[in-house]
């Protein structure tokens, strides 16, 4: 049986960085090429030596697919293409291609300029890497080579986020990347058709959460922010420049407008305008409402939200600041945090998930003191709120997606082992399909049925349809066709006998057998025939038995009663060679009847 092999190099029972190897039909595909934000050493990048201990990597990988621009999904791409030396094809959507290099550059600056790291990729490497990317549009069917086909579906996680359907021969896999099943203020919900893949590889960040309603979360968020600024506190919201940030900005903007609030709201300088330009230009990737109104009013031109300047950090009084990056692992958001954390009136709102090893993760786990590399210790007295605004599917959403696309197997990645275990159980119970959750470096092997393309003769199908439709409807009845399988030049066809004879130029030779049974049964022959039909119907359940002109037929077996007025009837049973089993069975049946 052909196999599909999955080996996570990252995201196997963790949420650190996504990088999953997929092998099927002789093709090797890398799904995402992410970076772990919690590490500063070589553990940050996937272990490419797993693929090939040494030597060129390009011959081992047929293509790389990037699901979206978050660095835990694309952060290691320049490393792989420019430093490890991968030169094969790379696929991502247009918005991802536009936005990913900005985030990569941002992170590079933090890593190299602030932390002074060496052995990191350069600006030029990011540019060279992105040049090699082939951008795809939604639903476009892309032939990577003659056998490997990919297709992107809307994932609704961030602008340009996509799920990918991947096919080699008759085997297919769907990789979700990160996705979101409920539409939000600027993105639509993930969507996929009933593509029935052999395997669905789904993220499971929120495997056990059923999030409370969207409206409640929003109200909660606004209430907390409002209460804090009212008391003169400062609110820090660490975000990634693109994605959730835009949604929260829209939310705050409309609230400030409605409540007529005057407290300053800032967004970290630089990226705002650029980010909004991207949203404008890729507005076709946002939700219906924004697309419909963009000509009159651009949702991303904010009235209340102003660019932030570093000098504002020490300004007295209330303010709300959106600052990057989102997990408080470096950069401006961390700087602001260090200044504001020791004061009770301030508040930190973490709108997204934080990976292990980041400051954000520590604080969310209740750390009251945070120690930094330079022995600096910061007391955390500010209020800390976690709000799951990260647009991931929750358990309900994941189950929904499984229902939509009807996979034959599910494999969970990008989640925590315990939570995955819970969801795995639920999936296996509810859908009666196998669910896998390999750890990093572990390989899951999924067997798939072989399916060979074949041309089926229309004559054969039509004859079957006529027989099938002649019977009373029964959804449980199986449909069976008989014919000849032909193989020529490695192409298969399924033909009826006459077509085969024509095709190869032979004359069919039909062999028929006839036997006689004598039966004492006074009365008209028709009555005898009816009697026989009754017997056969009882004994041959599931077969189609017809009677016409006193002749009974079952498949090619004919039963004829002769001897109109005599009390002893001759029953002829006749069948073609291919129906020997049925014919001899019926003959035996009649013979035992007369005895």
């Amino acid at each position: 049986m052909p196999e599909i092999k999955i080996t996570p190099l990252g995201a196997g029972q963790d949420v650190g960085r996504s990088c999953i190897l997929l092998s099927m039909g002789g093709k090797n595909i890398m799904l995402d090429c992410g970076m772990h934000m919690g590490y500063n050493d070589e553990r940050r990048f996937p272990d490419f030596s797993y693929i090939v201990p040494e030597g060129p990597i390009t011959s081992q990988i047929d293509c790389v697919i990037i699901s979206h621009f978050h660095l835990d999904h694309c952060g290691a791409l320049p490393y792989m293409s420019e430093m490890v030396g991968y030169t094969g094809p790379i696929y991502m959507t247009h918005p991802t291609k536009a936005i990913a290099p900005i985030l990569l550059e941002d992170m590079r600056k933090v890593a190299v300029e602030r932390k002074g790291e060496s052995n990191f990729f350069t600006s030029q490497m990011i540019k060279d890497c992105i040049k090699k990317v082939t951008a795809v549009t939604l639903h476009q069917s892309v032939m990577v080579d003659n056998e490997l086909e990919i297709k992107a579906y809307y994932a609704g996680h961030v602008l340009g986020a996509a799920m990918f359907w991947i096919r080699v021969g008759s085997q297919s896999v769907v990789y979700t990347g990160d996705y979101n099943m409920t539409p939000d203020r600027h993105l639509g919900a993930a969507w996929i058709d009933k593509c029935r893949p052999d395997l669905l590889i789904s993220e499971s960040t929120y495997a056990t959460t059923i999030r409370d309603s969207k409206r409640c979360r929003e109200r909660d968020f606004l209430k907390k922010v409002h209460e804090c600024v009212e008391k003169g506190g400062k609110v820090l919201i660490p975000v990634f420049a693109l994605g959730r940030a835009q949604e929260l900005c829209i939310l705050l903007e409309t609230y400030w407008e409605r409540m007529n609030l005057k407290y300053p709201v800032y967004f970290a300088l630089g990226l705002t305008e650029k980010a909004n330009n991207y949203y404008k230009m890729f507005i076709t990737w946002t939700n219906q409402k924004i697309r419909k109104t963009f000509v009159q009013r651009n949702m991303f031109d904010f009235k209340h939200i102003k660019p932030f300047d570093k000098s504002y950090i020490d300004n007295p009084g209330a303010m709300v600041v959106f600052a990057t990056p989102g997990m408080l692992h470096a950069g401006l958001s961390l700087n602001i945090f260090k200044k504001w954390a020791p004061y009770e009136q301030n508040m930190l709102i973490m709108p997204g998930f934080c990976v292990q090893g980041t400051v954000g993760h520590k604080i969310l786990n209740g750390a009251k003191k945070v120690e930094f590399e330079n022995r600096q210790v910061v007391d955390v007295k500010m209020a800390v709120e976690y709000m799951s605004f990260s647009a991931h599917a929750d358990a309900k959403g994941i189950m929904q997606l499984i229902q939509y696309c009807e996979p034959k197997n599910v494999l969970l990645v990008h989640g925590e082992a315990q939570k995955m275990e819970f969801l795995k159980d639920k999936i296996e119970k509810e859908f009666s399909i196998s669910c896998y959750m390999p750890a990093n470096g572990e390989t899951a092997i999924i067997n798939t049925p072989t399916k060979i393309p074949i041309d089926v003769s229309l004559r054969l199908l039509k004859a079957e349809a006529v027989r099938y439709n002649a019977q009373p409807p029964d959804p449980k009845r199986r449909r069976v066709v008989h014919g000849i399988l032909c193989v020529k030049d490695n192409r298969l066809s399924f033909l009826d006998i006459d077509e085969v004879c024509e095709e190869i130029g032979i004359n069919r030779h039909v062999i028929r057998f006839t036997s006689t049974v004598r039966f004492d049964d006074p009365g008209p022959a028709v009555k005898t025939a009816e009697k026989l039909k009754g017997l056969l119907t009882e004994k041959l359940q599931g077969w189609s038995i017809t009677i016409s002109d006193g002749n009974i037929s079952v498949e090619s077996v004919l039963i004829k009663v002769e001897g109109e007025d005599e009390s002893t009837k001759n029953i002829y049973v006749s069948w073609t060679n291919q129906d020997e089993d049925l014919g001899s069975y019926i003959l035996g049946l009649l013979q035992s009847m007369v005895q």
């Binding site: 003769s457 229309l458 399988l485 298969l492 130029g505 032979i506 062999i511 291919q578």
Partner: protein, 657 residues
């Protein structure tokens, strides 16, 4: 496979293809030539037009004709709301259509005529830009024609008397089939039916076929359609361009090797090179502006307009005329200009590179920010910096290119008598002198710079040769005119001539095309394939192997699967060739069934094949074997073992699988 042609205008095609039991409409172009026979519909009342003299045909006194016709400089016009010429509705019942595939926004203007109030129940597919820009075109048209023409009476009588009218009105083709434009409500309903698809997206059509739009290089979102079943491929090539302009380039490889290629919507101005025309336009505009005149370009609200704005603004800047304002006047100007800049995924590689910066793919947003470009819904809504009389030199882009409705009608009325002004025609849909006829006598300059980037005849010939279809289908306008054979020597009009079997379709006619299919594509389950054990068939050409097979048939979502049968089912054994009776007797002896007696059968005389039939008697076993050339019939009254021995003996004597 059958192909129907419903349009008389090859540039506004409408075909219906019957393929695999589906009726598929390819494009639904609306021919608007008919509007040229009507008097312009000014957006504001025009004293000149209302004071034109009425026309009565000589020696006719028909009170019903009263007020229907007017005369201007020797030309007769119908004074009524302009009418259009939709696709023929008698040949194909629109309620039976399964699918409409649209190639680009210039070929979908008749959509509401097809889908509304016709019982249409099918699906309509178009790319996102095609739908959006098509919507702009249609809404603009609807606003100008319906809003202004509302409540106006309908001139009908003249249609009965066409033969008595002077040309060109007398040559109007079937004016009784002309229709007024659909209502805005019908338009909205019709557009709501369109399902949006992307390039290279495979659309499943009722499980019978795949349809895929592929880039055609002509305008934003323009597509050629590839229809594919497991065994056939049909390529519909409509409105394609091999030139480099702002849209994504044409995808030729997807069109290769089709069983049938349908070619439509070639250039309407084969004698004019679009690049030269663009250059000429810039020169004429510059000269006019320098001399203090205004320039009017009657255009559609999208498409070539984007190129005009880009080229002309750059050219004017180079000529030191950067201060000359550019105006775009259209009810959909805002949307059209804004929309073009969010279609990053649909533009050429060069424009796409700008998006990554991120900058708008088209420069008109920047022109707008710099104050050089202004747009408005209507002339009177232009900013006050544009004086109502346009005394300052400026360039106005507005519709409609037919000059029968829209803001252009008003501007022409205003400027026609001033030789300093100029009107420059760029859209290829209408003969410009006919468009200008109701504005004669004209003192302003008129230039004809048609820009049609669709394939010209030599490009089309080259393309078809490269694509190597098995068969080509053409509307008759593109074929060699009848009677002008290759040897005729006279300069015939340009036409398609390639060495490919060609089917020519005329409006209203159907032609059979393409191949007949004999098989459906399915999949065979591996386990079943493994159990089949096909054997070499002696004598079959090309090493054919075969095996009898019984399979469970499962059809789900129109996908056909062959699975192992529920219970071990009989196999369709196949024996062939004639039986050697002596060999059979020997084989029977080996099986222990002896004392066979052979005699020629009575029927043998009538056997036309001449190969004698015979009867093998097995008296000890109560069995007779009738042997004929293509059949053997065993009458066996003996025990079952005898029958099995006979089967083995027969199998040994006849080749079989």
């Amino acid at each position: 496979m059958k192909l129907y042609c419903l349009s008389s205008d090859a540039a506004k095609p409408c075909f219906v293809l019957s393929f695999k039991e589906l009726l598929i409409m390819l494009d639904c172009g609306l021919s608007a030539h008919s509007v040229l026979n009507f008097l312009p519909l000014p957006p504001v009342p025009s004293t000149r037009l209302t004071s034109l003299p009425t026309y009565t045909p000589p020696h006719i006194n028909d009170p019903l004709l009263e007020g229907e016709l007017k005369e201007c400089c020797g030309r007769v016009f119908v004074d009524s709301v302009p009418e259009f010429c939709p696709p023929l509705d008698k040949v194909v019942d629109f309620s039976q259509l399964d699918v409409i595939l649209i190639s680009n926004y210039t070929c979908m203007m008749a959509l509401p005529f097809i889908t509304e109030d016709t019982g249409f129940k099918g699906q309509v597919y178009a790319t996102e830009p095609t739908l959006q820009i098509g919507r702009f075109y249609l809404e603009e048209l609807s606003e100008w024609v319906c809003a202004v023409g509302e409540g106006a009476g309908e001139a009908r009588r003249w249609k009965e008397l066409v033969h008595l009218l002077p040309p060109p009105l007398s040559q109007a083709v079937r004016p009784r089939a002309w229709r007024r434009l659909f209502s805005a409500a019908a338009l909205a309903r019709s557009l709501a039916r369109v399902r949006v698809v992307g390039y290279d997206e495979r659309v499943d059509l009722y499980g019978a076929l795949d349809a895929t739009p592929v880039s055609s290089g002509f305008c934003l979102g323009s597509a050629n359609w590839v229809l594919r079943s497991a065994h056939e491929k049909v390529a519909y090539v409509s409105g394609s361009s091999t030139l480099t302009t702002h849209p994504r380039p044409i995808n030729q490889s997807a069109l290769r090797g089709a069983d049938l290629l349908i070619l439509a919507a070639l250039t309407q101005t084969p004698a004019h090179n679009p690049d030269h025309m663009l250059g000429d336009l810039c020169v004429h505009a510059t000269l006019t502006l320098r001399a203090g005149g205004c320039v009017l370009c009657p255009v559609y609200p999208s498409g070539v307009l984007y190129d005009l704005l880009e080229c002309l603004s750059a050219h004017l800047e180079g000529a030191g005329l950067a201060q000359v304002p550019l105006y775009v006047v259209s009810p959909v100007a805002d949307s059209s200009l804004a929309y073009s800049n969010i279609l990053a995924e649909w533009v050429s590689a060069g424009k796409q590179a700008r998006v990554l910066l991120p900058e708008e793919p088209f420069p008109h947003a920047a022109l707008g920010r710099a104050g050089r470009l202004r747009q408005a819904r209507a002339l009177h809504e232009l900013p006050t910096s544009a004086p109502a009389e346009f005394r300052q030199p400026c360039v106005v882009f507005c519709g409609h290119p037919s000059l029968r409705f829209g803001a252009a009608v008003h501007l022409l009325d205003l400027w026609a008598s001033n030789p300093a002004h100029a009107v420059i025609f760029t859209e290829p849909d209408f003969p410009y002198m006919e468009a200008l006829a109701p504005f004669q006598p004209l003192s302003m300059k008129a230039f004809h710079c048609p820009i049609d980037t669709s394939l010209n005849y030599s490009q089309a010939n080259k393309l078809v040769r490269e694509l190597r279809p098995r068969e080509l289908a053409l509307p008759d306008q593109y074929a060699l005119p009848a009677g002008t054979g290759a040897g005729a020597g006279v300069a015939s009009r340009p036409h398609i001539s390639v060495d490919v079997p060609t089917v020519i379709v005329k409006r209203g006619a159907a032609r059979a095309a393409g191949v007949r299919r004999r098989a459906a594509r399915g999949t065979l389950c591996g386990a079943l394939a493994a159990s089949a054990l096909p054997r070499e068939v002696a004598g079959a050409a090309g090493g054919l192997r075969a095996a009898p097979l019984a399979a469970e048939l499962r059809i789900r979502d129109a996908r056909l699967e062959l699975l192992p049968p529920p219970a071990p089912a009989r196999a369709a054994r196949l024996h062939w060739s004639a039986l050697d009776v002596e060999a059979l007797v020997r084989a029977l002896a080996r099986e222990g069934v002896g004392s066979a007696r052979v005699e020629a059968s009575e029927a043998s005389g009538s056997d036309s094949s001449g190969a004698g039939g015979c009867i093998v008697h097995l008296p000890r076993h109560d069995t007779l074997v009738h042997v004929e050339r293509n059949a053997t019939h065993v009458f066996c009254e003996g025990r079952a073992e005898v029958r099995q021995a006979l089967r083995r003996a027969l199998a040994a004597c006849l080749p079989h699988i």
